[in-house]
C-alpha cells in the first residue's frame, strides 16, 4: 500500500509542477481523441440517423454489419490501419503512420461503428407517433429530420459517451499506429503502459489520474447538458 501512496504523492507533484513530458502525453491524447471523435460524429451521426430512420432494402444486414464492427478487436483495427498507412499500403503516400492524425484515423475507425449503431438504436426507439406529431404541427422535411434527431438526443449522447470512453482509453491502436513516440505520439494510455513497465509507477499513476479527470469532466459536462435539455 505504501508504494501506491508514495506513487500518488509523486503523481500529484508531477502534475502540480507542470511536468512537460506528462503534459505532452495529455496533449497528444486530447488531440487524437478530439479529432477522432469529431470525424466519427460528423460521419456517424448522419449515417446512424439514416440507418435508424429510413426503411430501405438490406437495412437489417447493414445494422448487423455495424453491430458486429462495434465488437471488432482493436488490435485488428490497429493492424488494418497500420497496413493502410504503411509505406506499401494504399494510403502510404500520405505519410500518416506514426503521426497524431494517423492515430486519430485509427481511433475514428474504432469510434465510427459505435456512433452509427447507437445513434440508429436511439432513433429506432423513438415513439412511433412522433412522425405524425411533427407532421401535424407543420414541420417540413428538414425540420422533421432535425427535430427527430433532437428527440433522440439522450440516446445519441449515450452513444457518443460510450465511443469517447473507448477512444480515450484505447492502447492497441495508439501503440501500433502512433508508435508511442516520446514528445510526439505518446498518449496517456501508451505512456502508462510504458512507464509502468519501466517501474515508473508515479508517472503512470499521474497519467491515470489525468485520464480519470478527463473522463469525469466530459461526463459532468454532458450530464449538465442533459439536465438543461430535459431529463
Amino acid at each position: 500500500m505504501g508504494f501506491i501512496l508514495e506513487g500518488l504523492a509523486k503523481a500529484v507533484n508531477l502534475l502540480a509542477s507542470g511536468d512537460a513530458e506528462t503534459f505532452s502525453a495529455v496533449w497528444a491524447t486530447l488531440l487524437a481523441t478530439g479529432q477522432a471523435m469529431a470525424a466519427a460524429l460528423v460521419l456517424g451521426l448522419p449515417l446512424g440517423f439514416a440507418l435508424g430512420y429510413f426503411p430501405f432494402p438490406g437495412k437489417r444486414l447493414c445494422r448487423l454489419g455495424f453491430d458486429t464492427l462495434m465488437a471488432f478487436p482493436t488490435v485488428v483495427i490497429g493492424l488494418l490501419v497500420y497496413a493502410l498507412l504503411s509505406r506499401q499500403g494504399p494510403l502510404g503516400g500520405l505519410n500518416l503512420l506514426f503521426t497524431v492524425p494517423g492515430m486519430s484515423l485509427g481511433l475514428a475507425v474504432l469510434a465510427l461503428p459505435m456512433v452509427v449503431s447507437l445513434t440508429a438504436s436511439a432513433v429506432e426507439q423513438l415513439d412511433p407517433r412522433l412522425r405524425l406529431a411533427l407532421l401535424t404541427l407543420g414541420a417540413d422535411t428538414r425540420q422533421m429530420l432535425l427535430s427527430t434527431l433532437w428527440e433522440a438526443r439522450h440516446g445519441v449522447l449515450a452513444g457518443t459517451l460510450a465511443a469517447f470512453g473507448r477512444v480515450v482509453s484505447e492502447v492497441g491502436i495508439a501503440m501500433m499506429v502512433g508508435g508511442n513516440i516520446k514528445w510526439h505520439t505518446r498518449t496517456i494510455t501508451t505512456a502508462i503502459a510504458l512507464e509502468t513497465g519501466k517501474g515508473e509507477f508515479a508517472m503512470g499513476l499521474a497519467l491515470g489520474l489525468v485520464l480519470l479527470a478527463m473522463a469525469l469532466t466530459v461526463n459532468v459536462v454532458l450530464a449538465l447538458l442533459r439536465r438543461r435539455t430535459g431529463p
Binding site: L137, G138, Q143, H154, G230
Partner: protein, 217 residues
C-alpha cells in the same frame, strides 16, 4: 360564409377493404362539424385525408376553394390535426405548445400563453414542466394547445376529450367555440360522445362502414 372544405366521392381502401366512403361533405367558415360513428367506420381515415396526410384512392377534395394537391406540404400548415392518441415532444410544455409556431418562423409568447389558458393550463404552473411530468389528460390538453396556438383555417380534432374529466371536456368545448367564432375558420371534431358533440357543433354527421356519411343535422 366562405367554403373551407368541399369533399365529394371520397373512397379509400386498405388491404382490399373499403375503409372510407364519403359521398359529400362541405364545411364552411365559422362552422363546427361533429362526426360520430362506430369503431372502424373510417373517422380517423377521413381526418387524415382532411389533414392532407393521406391521399384517398378516389374522390375530390377542395380546400379554401382550390383542388388539393396532396404532394404540397405547405397545405398541412393550414389544416391542423390533433391525433386521437397525441404524443408530446421531449420538451417542456412551453416547448411543445410553441413548436408549431417556431417551425413557421414565428415567435409569439402571447399566442402560446393564450392557447395554454384556453385549455386550462396555467402558463405560470405548467410552462416549465417536462413532458413526463404530465398526466394523460394534461398531455391531451397540451397537444390541443399546441394546435390552438397556430390558429389554423381548419382545426381537426380526433377524440379530443378521451380520458378527460368533465371540467376539461368543458374547457375543450369552450376552446373550440372561441377558436371558430373569432375568425373565418372551421373545426371538425370526432367523438364517440354524441351528447357532448350536440352541445356545441353546428352540424352533426354519422359515419357508418356500410352507409357512409349521413347528415344528422
Amino acid at each position: 360564409m366562405s367554403e373551407i372544405y368541399h369533399i365529394s366521392g371520397l373512397e379509400h381502401s386498405h388491404g382490399g377493404r373499403l375503409v372510407l366512403n364519403v359521398e359529400s361533405l362541405t364545411v364552411s367558415g365559422g362552422e363546427i362539424a361533429g362526426i360520430t360513428g362506430p369503431n372502424g367506420s373510417g373517422k380517423s381515415t377521413l381526418m387524415a385525408v382532411m389533414a392532407f396526410l393521406l391521399k384517398p384512392d378516389l374522390g375530390r377534395v377542395r380546400f379554401l376553394g382550390r383542388a388539393v394537391d396532396f404532394a404540397e406540404p405547405s397545405l398541412r400548415r393550414q389544416a391542423v390535426l390533433l391525433p386521437q392518441d397525441p404524443c408530446l415532444l421531449r420538451r417542456t410544455v412551453w416547448g411543445n405548445v410553441s413548436y408549431g409556431l417556431s417551425v413557421r418562423g414565428l415567435k409569439d409568447e402571447g399566442l402560446v400563453r393564450r392557447a395554454m389558458d384556453m385549455v386550462g393550463l396555467d402558463p405560470q404552473r405548467f410552462a416549465k414542466r417536462w413532458w413526463w411530468e404530465l398526466s394523460g389528460g394534461e398531455i391531451r390538453r397540451v397537444g390541443l394547445a399546441a394546435r390552438l396556438a397556430l390558429s389554423p383555417e381548419a382545426l381537426l380534432l380526433d377524440e379530443p376529450t378521451a380520458n378527460l374529466d368533465p371540467e376539461s371536456a368543458r374547457l375543450v368545448r369552450l376552446a373550440i367555440l372561441a377558436e371558430v367564432s373569432g375568425q373565418q375558420s372551421a373545426a371538425v371534431v370526432i367523438s364517440h360522445d354524441q351528447q357532448w358533440l350536440e352541445s356545441f357543433v353546428t352540424a352533426l354527421y354519422r359515419l357508418d362502414p356500410d352507409q357512409g356519411l349521413k347528415t344528422l343535422y
